[in-house]
Symmetry: C2
Subunit: 438 residues, 2 copies
C-alpha cells in the first residue's frame, strides 16, 4: 500500500531517490545506478542543473549536434540542434547543402511586438470606463517605470495599452491589451511583472475614481498574463531557384519534381490531417534550435500552431510557387525568442550554442530558427514526393533496433546491407539477427 | 572566410568538434571543454546516446525529476518529468497533493484509433475509381500482411481503408484514408511502412486494371504518411469536489474562487490570445511526461493544438462547471503515445521513467499524460486568479539569476528574504548583490 508523502520537495536528492526506490522501484534496483549514471562528473555543474527546476533526480539527455552549411542572408552558419529524433539533423544538413549552392536562405524579421493582457470584468457604464481609461493610462504606464527601467535603457519597454471591449464574448469582459518591445530577451517575466503591476494600479485607480458608482467599483481583475500568441512578432524565410536547378534523378524530372512538390504543399494547405503532420515536421527543426538555445519550445509551439489556424481551418505554414521558371518556397511564422535572460545565461551548453551562432541578437535567432524550420520541411516534402519518408527513417530506426539487441559491429554491417532490400520491422530484425547468430 | 564543408557527417565526433572550434569558436576556446564536460563518464552509455541521431557532439541536459502524490483512478503515482522550465514540477506536485485529498483524477481512454493517408491525384471517371477501389481493397490489405504480422499477434493492425474524394479541395485529389490500431507502440514507423506499401500496391493494381484508360492509369501518388492529427485517439480526464472544499484563504472565499476560476476558463474558451497561453501551460505538463517517457512531443503538440481549433477558432482545451455545489474541471485531448519501440527501448532513463510508472500500457500512459496536463492547468489558473503567476515564478527566477551571478549561500539567503517584498528584475538583483557585497 503506497501512502502519500509530505515534504518531498524538502528532501535531499539522495533521499528522494531512496523514497522512489522503496516506493516504486522495488522490482527495478538497477534504476538507482541509472539515475546516478547520468549525474555530471563535476558536482558544481550537476548542482547548477538541479537548481533549474524542482525535485531533480538526474539529467535527461537529448543529443546535442550541429547541422553545418546553412547559407543565411549570405552568411555561412552551423546550426546547433538538440533533438532525440533520428533524421532531423541529417535532413537539415542535406537541405542546407542543397540550398547553399542555390543562393541560400533569405530571411527577415517583419516585426517584434509582444503582447499581454489584464483580463477583467466590469459591470457598468461603458462610456465611464472609457473616460476612466483615458485619464488613467498615464498612471498605468508610470506605475511600471521601475520594472521597465533597464529594458528602456536597451531600447525596449511598454509600447501601448489599449482598453478592449470583449463584452460580446463574456458579460462584462474587458481587457487591457498591452504591447511590448523586449529586445534580446524573450520577455515573459518582464511582461508578466508589468501586467501584474498594471492590474494593481488599475484596482487602486478604480477605487479612487469618483465617477464610478459602488457596483462599477467592483471591477474585478480575473488574471494578468502575457500571450504566447504573437502575430506581430513575425519572421519570413524563403528559398528560390530556377526549376532547372531542382533535384532530378532517374525517376523524376526537374519539372515533375516541382509540380509534385507544389501539389504536396497545396494538399497541406487545404487538408488538416496532412497539415498537422506537415507542420509537425517544421517544428522538428524549429524546436531543436529553440531547445539548444535555451528557449521555451511550448511557447513557440503554441504560438505557431495557433497561427496555422488563424483563418478558421488548420493549414500549412509553408507555401510554394513556380513562376517564370523559378521555384519559390517560403514560410511566415510568429516567433518570440530571447538570447539573454532565462536559461541563456545559465545553461553552459546553451552558451556554447549561442557562441556557435556567433552570439546572435533575438532578431537574428528568429531568423536562424525560421531557416531551420523551412529547411526541415523542404527535406521532408522532398523525401515524401520522391523516395518516401521511410527510406531515411528506417536506416536510423534499424540502427536503433540493432543497438537495442546488442548487435556487434559485424552483425550491424551485415544487416544494414540486408535491409537495403527488405522492410525493417522489430520482428524482421530480430529474425535476421537470430538467423546470422545461429 | 568560412567555406562549406563536405563529408561532415562522416567525421569522428572529435574531428567535428575540431572543425567547429576552428571555424566558429575561435573566440570561445572554453567551448571545447564544455562540450566534453557533458559527455557521459561511461563510453558505452555515451556512444549509445550519440547514435540516437546524427552529428552528435554532446548531451543536452534537461532536468529529470518527479512529481509525487498523483492519485489516478484510485492508484497513487509519482510522475516523472523532463523539463527545463522552473515551477512546472512544483506546480504539478501542488495540484497532485490538492486533488489527492479530494478523490484524485478520474481518467479514461475514449478510443485509440490512429490514421494515415495515401494522397493521390486521379484525373478520370469517379465511378470507375470507386469500382476499382472496392475490387482492390482486399489486395491492398493483403499486401501488408508481412509488415503487420507481429502487430496482429499483439491485437493490432490495419482497421480499414477508405477511398475519400477530396476533389472539391484540389483537382483530382483523392485519399486512401487508413485507420490503425497500434497497441502499445506509437506506431509511426509501422503506419508509414503500411502506407508506403499501400501506395506501391495501388500503383501496380491501377496499371493492371483493364477498365482504366491511359489517362486514368496516370494516377499519381503524391505522398504516403501518417497523420499526427488523431481525433479518434482520445483521453478524457477530470477532477471534481464540492465548492466548499476548494481553496480559500484570507483573500478569497470558496465560492468566489470557484466563480473566478470559471470566468478564467470561459475567457480561455472564447479569446484566442488567452487560449494559446492557457493551452501552452497544459503542454508544460504534458510535454514533460512525453519527453521523460521517450515519446515525440512535436507529434503530441501538433495534434493537440490542431484539436484546440477544430471548431474554427482556437480555444481552451479545459472546461469547468459548478452544478449543485460541485466544482468540476475536465479536458479531452487526442494523444498518440507508445510504451514500446523507439526510444522507450533504448534510452536508459526512459526505461527508469516507465518503471516509476509501473510499466504502463500505451493506454495507461495516455491517462497519466492527460492527468499531468490537467494538473498543470489547474495549478496555473489557480495562481492566476489568486496571487498571480509571478510570485511562484519569481522565486525560481531569482534563484537562477543569483546562480548566474555566482551568489554565495549567504548572499542567496539574504536576497531571497529581501525579494519577498521587492520586484525581481535582472538589474534589481544585480544592484542588491552589489549592495551587500560592498
Amino acid at each position: 500500500m503506497i501512502t502519500p508523502i509530505t515534504g518531498f520537495s524538502k528532501l535531499k536528492k539522495e533521499e528522494k531517490i531512496d523514497w522512489l526506490l522503496k516506493t516504486y522501484l522495488k522490482d527495478s534496483p538497477a534504476s538507482e545506478n541509472i539515475l546516478k549514471q547520468y549525474w555530471n562528473k563535476n558536482d558544481t555543474v550537476q548542482q547548477l542543473h538541479e537548481e533549474f527546476t524542482e525535485n531533480t533526480l538526474s539529467n535527461f539527455y537529448l543529443p546535442f549536434g550541429i547541422a553545418p552549411n546553412f547559407l543565411i542572408n549570405g552568411k555561412l552558419m552551423a546550426i546547433p540542434m538538440a533533438t532525440e529524433e533520428s533524421s532531423v539533423i541529417a535532413a537539415a544538413s542535406k537541405a542546407a547543402k542543397f540550398w547553399q549552392n542555390r543562393g541560400g536562405f533569405k530571411v527577415n524579421v517583419l516585426n517584434t511586438t509582444k503582447n499581454g493582457q489584464v483580463h477583467f470584468i466590469y459591470i457598468g457604464d461603458h462610456d465611464k470606463l472609457n473616460d476612466f481609461f483615458k485619464i488613467t493610462k498615464p498612471a498605468l504606464l508610470n506605475s511600471v517605470s521601475e520594472i521597465t527601467k533597464n529594458m528602456r535603457k536597451r531600447g525596449g519597454g511598454v509600447l501601448d495599452i489599449e482598453l478592449v471591449d470583449k463584452t460580446d464574448l463574456v458579460d462584462g469582459y474587458f481587457q487591457l491589451h498591452c504591447t511590448f518591445e523586449t529586445k534580446d530577451s524573450m520577455g515573459a517575466n518582464f511582461i508578466n511583472s508589468c501586467l501584474e503591476k498594471f492590474a494593481d494600479t488599475l484596482k487602486v485607480e478604480v477605487n479612487n475614481y469618483q465617477e464610478f458608482n459602488e457596483e462599477e467599483k467592483q471591477l474585478e481583475v480575473i488574471m494578468s498574463i502575457l500571450s504566447n500568441y504573437v502575430p506581430e512578432c513575425m519572421v519570413k524565410v524563403e528559398v528560390a531557384c530556377p526549376v532547372s536547378e531542382l533535384y532530378d534523378d532517374n525517376h523524376i524530372s526537374h519539372e515533375a519534381f516541382a509540380e509534385k512538390f507544389l501539389t504536396a504543399i497545396k494538399i497541406a494547405e487545404v487538408e488538416p490531417y496532412r497539415a498537422v503532420t506537415h507542420n509537425k515536421g517544421i517544428m522538428n527543426g524549429i524546436d531543436a534550435v529553440v531547445l539548444a538555445t535555451g528557449n521555451d519550445f511550448r511557447a513557440v509551439e503554441a504560438g505557431i500552431h495557433a497561427y496555422a489556424c488563424k483563418d478558421g481551418s488548420y493549414s500549412s505554414l509553408t507555401h510554394a510557387s513556380v513562376e517564370n521558371g523559378v521555384f519559390k518556397f517560403w514560410m511566415e511564422i510568429p516567433l518570440a525568442l530571447g538570447t539573454v535572460g532565462g536559461l541563456t545565461n545559465l545553461h553552459p551548453l546553451v552558451k556554447v550554442a549561442l557562441e556557435i551562432l556567433q552570439k546572435p541578437s533575438a532578431r537574428e535567432l528568429m531568423e536562424i530558427v525560421a531557416v531551420a524550420g523551412l529547411a526541415q520541411n523542404f527535406a521532408a516534402v522532398k523525401s515524401l514526393v520522391t523516395n518516401g519518408i521511410q527510406q531515411g527513417h528506417m536506416k536510423m530506426h534499424l540502427m536503433n533496433i540493432l543497438n537495442s539487441q546488442n548487435a556487434s559491429p559485424d552483425e550491424k554491417e551485415e544487416l544494414l546491407h540486408y535491409f537495403k532490400k527488405h522492410t525493417v520491422t522489430h520482428s524482421s530484425v530480430a529474425e535476421q539477427l537470430e538467423r546470422i547468430r545461429n
